[in-house]
Symmetry: C2
Subunit: 460 residues, 2 copies
């Protein structure tokens, strides 16, 4: 069985901690059993290592998250990148084609996909391991995991099993599925629960050949290299709507352990180990209030009840917990560049922005490079940069000249000048960018590895 | 009559907007009739210009606020500086000695002192104008203004007039005072109000000679140059306790117009013109909630009631309004340098601080110099600086060398190097300080005026 974790997810539901560059699954706001901070994707990864369900685990993700995934999970992760985030049907179509034509996977092989960010207990993975056998025994096209509802939620989708519990499959854990209901009213939800309906948690298992046939039926190629250029034309629709709800033979395995969709501050804060995170919090007379502070400023909370306060370089949220699901909607007009990003080489934070009204902009950043890592050899068309080394030691390449840099050293980098830097020890830099197009995309990358950078420019 | 505005006030009651360098009276959080932002001191100054009560108005203030007062009120302000903030008795003692021996003011001249930060209607100044005549007609030592209470407050001091209203002074607005009561219980406050008691709003009128006698009685010199070196030995006590409550002949003029002590976020927000100030606020389903945002970040508020959210470079406060008086107490452990200061030459903001654990520190600041202003010629013992010019044009002096600087120019300023800069047009600089003692006091100032700086170094 091949297991694929789908790393989609909105950048705005956990604003201001999440943004375009740092979706919620990458936020280090949970705690592992040792009390260390971990992200949702790190939690799932840790659980999968402790409860292996497959030797072959892949992550389907946006290429812009590739660096971050490698940083959080290590370099051994197998990534299948999507050209852009669309929805789960295009993502699963593409990864199926990839397995088929690139990896030559047998059409009889079982593929299981699941979201990267459910908050589950370890027994969830035991259920996932049963999916392959359920497909075999039931001869179904699809096998799902259904979560036993804990309340009549109106925001989830429900999987309706055939009457009679295990559906006649005596001794087997799976049940035949006879229907689906998305986001029912509360009254409908109560009726569904009375009928043993289960929450759809986005875990789907199928034989690769089934998905290839589904592609062919719709007129899409099952060859990866032919499908890839058509990716943007695939309908932006969920796998549930496009495939599962139309399938004839579907079974479900119930899971009655812990499961949470940590999609809003309200649900997330319930799982945050400590009541507060972040430095220099001073709280007085507060009840059921969480403070998540990523800024280098003290947060003082006095007399708060049932609130979440989240502060990051992107902004400050103060929300009643029960209304925190509105944050995505409310912040839809907040258009700004991400103010904090984790990168392959470390991370940066925007400290200051200034515009002069004539399309000139100044951006001051604090960069942190991890020892041994380097920024690629690059130049910018429309901006100049000044680097002030403030801590650590590094090796700087500027227009093919190599020199050692230490705290207090300054590099002036005019537009067009080729530059790169490698951290010998952990390296901190204050960067001042000046120009007319201060976006990340104004980068012409010349070389990535330090050997290449030094070798190309200094062959001796 | 000489009018003196006492500019004392705590730096912590309106945290995080107020700090050591920027007391509450200087915060531009009110609005003038044209809708422009103004501070409490600017509001009083504007009202005094529209309703003059004296040709001679002085401000008694800490020398560290001198630059800020001149910046907010202009250079024509007459300042009497106190060596340190103690309390109102030392402040009034010192200014009386100053009038006596430095300005040779006649002992029969009336001096009126008042706080710089009451929120009052224009008729307040009409009452102040009547104080001199009240002193003359009553032959009293002190004439006060008493505010007609609007509720039985337990946090103010009460002035108790003689029974029988105007105290026998038929046709005169003043009443004889027979006692005082500080911070009564609510029951006592109700009884006081039934006896026509008034709130003490800190306005005191006396003949200069009276105060000089009070000093002599206590063994303090009435000569300014002799009193000044003893200032720190004067008891740190209020003028009310030390003088007013012990005086035999005191009268009060009632004032029944608008008066507010904008000392807490709770009272202040009632007078803030707009519900919110600051950029990029997104509020949803909020009631009786004020957001004051001085950061360059969006603040999103969802479902809040009766809260104040205040964000500045010094920190973030989220407080139930009715508990906002706790902020001074809660933040007493927040020990940090001010992150934003207004200066004679402009302002600066700390963008980033970094410590390496070995007493080395890095501080990144954004400086803004107003056109025509300059930073004094100075050097630092324990820190080096890098200046990156990001907007405007300036003239830089570095170790006696003068040069023009423009955006993109960089100056490296080692420890011990003499440096100054003048803004030709409005000038923005990113400054990176590195060293072991990044406090403002590590400055050796060599010259202040640009003529002097250029003349001394470049005599030609």
């Amino acid at each position: 069985m091949k297991l694929v974790l789908l790393s989609g997810g909105s950048g705005k539901r956990l604003w201001p901690l999440s943004n375009e560059a740092r979706s919620k699954q990458f936020l280090r706001i949970l705690h592992n059993p040792d009390g260390k901070r971990e992200s949702m994707i790190q939690r799932i990864w840790r659980q999968l290592n402790a409860n292996p369900v497959s030797d072959e685990v892949y992550i389907s993700a946006s290429p812009k998250h590739a660096e971050l995934i490698q940083k959080q999970l290590g370099n051994k992760v197998c990534l299948i990148t999507e050209p852009e985030a669309r929805d789960t049907f295009p993502a699963i179509a593409l990864l199926s084609a990839y397995f088929h034509s690139e990896l030559a996977v047998d059409p009889g092989e079982v593929v299981t996909v699941m979201p990267v960010d459910p908050y589950v207990g370890d027994s969830f993975f035991t259920v996932i391991k049963q999916l392959e056998q359920a497909l075999t025994l039931s001869q179904a096209d699809l096998a799902l995991v259904g979560v036993a509802p804990t309340y009549p939620s109106t925001k989830y989708g429900y999987i309706i099993p055939a009457a009679g519990g295990a559906g006649g499959n005596a001794g087997q854990p799976f049940q035949k599925v006879i229907g689906f209901k998305e986001k029912p009213s509360e009254r409908e939800a109560r009726e569904l629960i009375a009928r043993q309906a289960l929450w759809n948690c986005g875990v789907f298992s199928f034989r690769l050949g089934y998905m290839l046939e589904e592609l062919e039926k719709r007129g899409w190629p099952s060859d990866y290299l032919r499908l890839l250029p058509l990716y943007r034309e695939l309908p932006s629709i969920s796998f549930d709507y496009e495939v599962v709800e139309k399938a004839e033979r579907v079974v479900v395995i119930p899971y009655d352990g812990e499961w949470k969709d940590l999609g809003t501050w309200n649900t997330l804060t319930e799982e945050m180990g400590a009541r507060e995170t972040g430095d220099r919090i001073l709280a007085e007379k507060c009840a059921n209030t969480h403070i998540i502070n990523e800024l280098d400023l003290p947060v003082v909370a006095i007399g708060l009840s049932d609130l979440v306060v989240a502060a990051s370089p992107d902004g400050i949220l103060v929300s009643r917990k029960s209304l925190s699901h509105l944050v995505k909607q409310v912040t839809k007009d907040v258009r700004q560049r991400p103010m904090f990003e984790e990168r392959r080489w470390g991370s940066y934070r925007v400290l200051h922005r200034q515009e002069d009204g004539e399309n000139r902009e100044v951006l001051t950043k604090a960069l942190h490079l991890q020892a041994g890592k380097n920024i690629s050899y690059q130049y910018h068309r429309n901006r100049s940069e000044v680097w002030v080394i403030t801590a650590g030691e590094g090796e700087l390449v500027l227009n093919d000249q190599i020199r050692r840099v230490r705290p207090g050293d300054v590099a002036k980098i005019p537009a067009g000048a080729k530059h790169a830097i490698k951290a010998i020890t952990d390296l901190d830099i204050i960067e001042v960018q000046m120009g007319s197009n201060l976006e990340e995309k104004d980068i012409v990358r010349l070389a990535e590895s330090w050997e290449e950078i030094r070798g190309a420019e200094n062959p001796g």
